[in-house]
């Protein structure tokens, strides 16, 4: 109501600045990915000569296409498993009283704090012995495990906020326990579970350390690891264009998800982090 025109302009300008700062490095990658190889090194922010050769190039490379399928499959499966296990534990932590709760919460935090690079070596040996080195399951297991602390923390913060009395109220109104759970609790818990799922998915999608050390072929190599193996069209050419194109391709799904669900993510991140 009491916003003056000057304030409006001021905040609008601030918004624009924030958006620009966040977007410029991304636009730069998009620009690189469309640059013709001859103008790749002109140092200009926008392409003078446009080409889609980089995109056609990476989609013709099994290294990239396989990696893309691996990334999507591995991240999705790990997310589902991790969130289901995390939700069970988080429910117990948020609602039930049991000895060992503090120990569980503390050790989950410690696991999240241990440097991942030092765990990779024993895992490498163990994975080879078990025959799961360079397989989907070999990456799903660490992703599921090391995202558990995150999902337990976020979900238990969420579950604490759910008014569980409603379940009893529904039962008094004649709902069966299953109905009460499905119609009352699930809709209330869904945003929290959903937000956690997105955070866990981003963690798996993002990971570089496990991906590069626990894979060796197209079998299970994910995109962040595959990018490191890109080569130029010839041996003497830098793979800059291909890397930029691949980077754009794996960023698009993230942008779509973030745009669709930004409200929930914001609510989720904020609720989860400050309370827990």
């Amino acid at each position: 109501m009491n916003v003056t025109a000057r304030q409006r302009v001021g905040w609008g300008a601030a918004n624009v600045v924030v958006v620009l700062i966040a977007a410029i490095p991304v636009l730069w990658l998009v620009s690189l990915s469309f640059k013709d190889p001859t103008t790749l090194t002109d140092g200009s922010f926008y392409p003078h000569k446009w080409t889609t050769a980089n995109y056609r190039g990476i989609f013709n490379q099994p290294l990239f296409t396989h990696a893309l399928i691996n990334s999507i499959g591995i991240a999705l499966i790990s997310t589902i498993l991790g969130v289901v296990l995390g939700a069970m534990a988080a429910y117990a932590i948020a609602r039930l009283d049991f000895p060992g709760k503090r120990l569980l919460v503390a050790s989950a935090l410690l696991i999240a704090m241990f440097p991942a690079i030092s765990l990779v070596n024993p895992m490498f040996n163990l994975w080879r012995t078990l025959g799961i080195f360079d397989t989907w399951i070999g990456l799903i297991i660490p992703y599921m495990t090391f995202s558990l602390p995150l999902s337990i923390y976020t979900l238990s913060a969420f579950f604490r906020e759910i008014p569980w009395e409603l379940e009893r109220a529904a039962a008094l109104d004649g709902a069966t326990p299953l109905q009460a759970f499905r119609r009352v609790i699930v809709p209330l818990a869904a945003p929290g579970v959903f937000t956690t799922a997105i955070l866990v998915f981003l963690y798996c999608w993002n990971d570089f350390v496990f991906a590069i050390s626990l894979t060796s072929t197209n079998n299970a190599r994910t995109v962040p690891a595959a990018i490191a193996f890109f080569t130029g069209a010839s041996q003497f050419q830098q793979p800059t264009g291909s890397i930029a194109a691949a980077a754009v391709v794996i960023t698009v799904p993230v942008i779509v998800v973030v745009m669709l669900f930004q409200r929930r993510i914001v609510a989720g991140l904020t609720a989860g982090a400050v309370k827990g």
Binding site: W11, N15, V18, V19, A22, A23, P25, V26, W28, L29, L32, T41, S44, F45, L85, A89, Y91, A92, L96, D97, F98, G100, A108, I111, M113, F114, P115, S118, L119, N121, P122, L126, I141, T145, W164, E165, F208, V209, S213, P224, I227, A228, T240, I243, I250, T251, V254, I255, V257, M259, Q262, R263, I265, V266, L269, T270, A271, A273, V274, G276
Partner: protein
């Protein structure tokens, strides 16, 4: 302050009240509690099993290796050496302390900048008059982008010939090949990538500041600056501290950005990069594992320090479900 319907004690007492004349009230309680415990353990069992099987073994193994002389180039020489790996790291080479200094520098500078920028971004998001969705999406964008990808973007931007930023620092030199230019670039990449995280946590804190309080302060003649320090900051304190804790822990273990930007050349190694070199390039598993344990101890120390500093606002204090 919600009615504790879910808590066992109330229900158990009510039940005992109904069944008049049943002396073992206490038994009823434990009966309930036992059922609750059993359910809780059953629910936690899969998560605990997975974490124990997958995470605990490598952690224990890494700690065990840190007390061994174990170099993959000379595997036959593997012996128990006590704490000598640690003393080697901490006293006989300058590598560790050099990397430690760089890590602390990057951590402190980037976390301070992120706090300031994150606060500004949070206020802008909070006050966004139009295009709230666009602003939020844009702010979340860097957080969602794969770190390796973002690091490549910065690397190309600062590479002479390819990048639009390379000429910025003057001359034809490659900024990433000089320590005192590379470190600010690493900090810039880190700040760009993780400020959104800080901004979102601060936004949560900001939404807790009662609007009437700000208005009252304004009526009383407080300047914008005073309203910020005297009204907003005290209310936001828990959010600020949580944001600082998580970011500090993460920044101290910085790896991907440096790995892509400089590969740790020109003395830009962080402790994690140094550790990686020991484990994967030098194949010295004993010393490498000892470094991992040291990194872990330092992060634990940071966490402990913050939690002591926070007092009641610390994360985990609340997780027990006691409010």
């Amino acid at each position: 302050m919600r009615p504790p319907l879910g808590t066992p004690r109330l229900g158990a007492v009510a039940d005992a009240g109904v069944q008049v004349g049943q002396p073992p009230r206490k038994r009823m309680l434990t009966e309930r509690q036992r059922a609750e415990r059993k359910l809780a353990w059953m629910l936690c069992a899969p998560a605990v099993a997975v974490m124990a099987l997958v995470a605990i073994y490598p952690i224990i193994y890494a700690i065990y290796l840190s007390f061994q002389r174990y170099d993959l180039r000379f595997p036959a020489d593997k012996t128990w050496v006590g704490i000598s790996n640690y003393t080697t790291i901490l006293t006989s080479t300058s590598l560790w302390w050099q990397a430690f200094g760089v890590t602390v520098l990057i951590t402190v500078v980037s976390v301070v900048i992120e706090l300031v920028l994150g606060m500004l971004a949070a206020i802008v998001m909070h006050r966004a008059i139009f295009g709230r969705g666009i602003v939020r999406t844009a702010v979340l964008l860097p957080y969602g982008i794969v770190t390796v990808v973002a690091a490549f973007s910065w690397q190309y931007a600062w590479t002479p010939g390819t990048g639009y930023l390379a000429g910025l620092l003057g001359g034809n030199s490659a900024p990433l090949t000089h320590q005192w230019q590379a470190i600010p670039i690493i900090i810039l990449a880190e700040v760009w990538k993780t400020t959104p995280f800080m901004a979102l946590l601060l936004l949560a804190g900001l939404s807790l500041v009662p609007e009437e309080l700000l208005r009252a302060a304004k009526v009383d003649g407080a300047t914008a600056w005073q309203r910020f320090w005297r009204v907003m900051v005290p209310v936001m304190k828990p959010a600020i501290l949580v944001a600082l804790l998580f970011r500090t822990l993460d920044a101290f273990r910085i790896f991907d950005n440096i790995y892509i930007l400089t590969q740790g050349s020109q003395n830009t190694r962080s402790v994690s990069i140094l550790d990686y070199d020991q484990l994967f390039t030098a194949l010295n598993l004993g010393v490498g594992s000892a470094m991992s344990v040291l990194i872990f101890l330092f992060t634990a120390l940071i966490a402990f320090g913050y939690i002591k500093g926070f007092g009641a606002a610390a994360p985990g204090q609340d997780v027990r479900g006691v409010r």
